[in-house]
């Protein structure tokens, strides 16, 4: 029961992006199209889950004074592995993500969860917490990239969704959705809607 709670809580009540304000940079930058967003979400989930597991296993032996450096080294190691795998199997997506794969190291979700959860909880729970938070992050990423790709390019996952007849009658893609500012505004609106339904999240 508690484990299920660990998995599901980050999807809504404690969503890393819209509630904890963690990991926003990459969420905005990689969401122009759905494919890179999905790859990014998976990579982050893998790195969060395993870094949580590793840090949790060593939580009693890590000296508190140098814990940040140790955490960063563990995370950097996992990110190098993910980066090499992406380069080997999905090179075009890896090119599109450019510096943002490397920036998973500094994705605040990782440090946030390591500090707030893995340092004081058992390995299995930490692993599940990592998966849950990765999924919460992925949920927002996929929603955002769906909206941006649909309205910005008229396609989803590369398949043309807006029929050609619309274009013939004068419909045109909203180029603004592809640009950075609309990503921010769209997230703002997603937060607005979420808090409209989930009123206990409203800030004073």
């Amino acid at each position: 029961m508690k484990n299920l709670h660990l998995l599901l809580n980050p999807l809504n009540d404690e969503n890393p992006i819209t509630v904890q304000v963690l990991g926003i940079c990459s969420a905005l930058a990689v969401t122009v199209q759905m494919k890179p967003a999905i790859v990014m979400a998976l990579s982050v989930t893998v790195v969060t889950a395993f870094s949580n597991l590793i840090i949790s296993l060593g939580r009693n032996t890590i000296p508190p004074r140098i814990r940040i450096i140790i955490q960063l080294v563990v995370v950097a190691f996992l990110v190098i592995v993910v980066d090499q795998i992406l380069k080997a199997y999905v090179y075009d997506v890896s090119k599109k993500l450019s510096v943002f794969v490397g920036l998973i190291i500094t994705n605040c979700i990782l440090m946030g969860r390591l500090e707030a959860f893995a340092m004081s909880n058992k390995p299995v729970e930490s692993f599940l917490d990592g998966i849950g938070n990765g999924a919460g992050y992925g949920l927002i990423l996929i929603t955002l990239s769906f909206i941006r790709e649909l309205f910005g390019s008229g396609s989803v996952l590369g398949y043309q969704l807006v029929p050609q007849s619309f274009y013939d009658h004068g419909y045109s893609d909203n180029g603004m959705m592809i640009l950075p500012p609309m990503a921010l505004i769209t997230v703002g609106i997603i937060i607005w809607i979420q808090r409209g339904y989930n009123r206990k999240l409203i800030e004073k």
Partner: protein
Amino acid sequence: MENLFNLFIRNVFTENMIFAYFLGMCSYLAVSKTVKTSMGLGVAVIFVITVTVPVNWLLENYLLKEGALKWLGSSFADVDLSFLSFLLFIAVIAAIVQLIEMVVEKFAPALYNALGIFLPLIAVNCAVLGAALFMQEREYGSIAEATVYGFGAGFGWALAIVVLAAIREKLKYSDVPKPLRGLGLAFILTGLLAIAFMGFSGIKI
């Protein structure tokens, strides 16, 4: 000289870390409630980036890049250690942040308390590592360029956070729909600021 000046202006306005690349958004959104604390964090970030980018530039060019180890002898000429760059960059950043944390705690305890968790979190501020990775990707030719780039990127970041904090201070008493208060509004404001900053991209220097 003129080249360096251009680089600085470009990185503050048209290629602003926040408005064009969304780097360092987490602390940007979380600390921008008052101008005073955001100013403190802004200065800290400027300092950290201006120091770490040139240090990482040296690492990149004399240790990591393909052929960078030539100074060790011809047998090292085709060693490529670039897969290690994430690890080394982040280690340098973490070490320098730790150093700065100690200095701030000793000499400015008030600022230290105000920044709280966000000072150690500069180590994981994506703007700092992002600047190092952009430096690697864009292959700046000299250490002077790398330093100016770092300073410009940091300055642009600080400018952005102070502007947002100033607006949020004024908006504290306005009548905003309840679910939009706080984070949601900060996002939309940043979006509008980003649109404003896009206007700078028309400038030719």
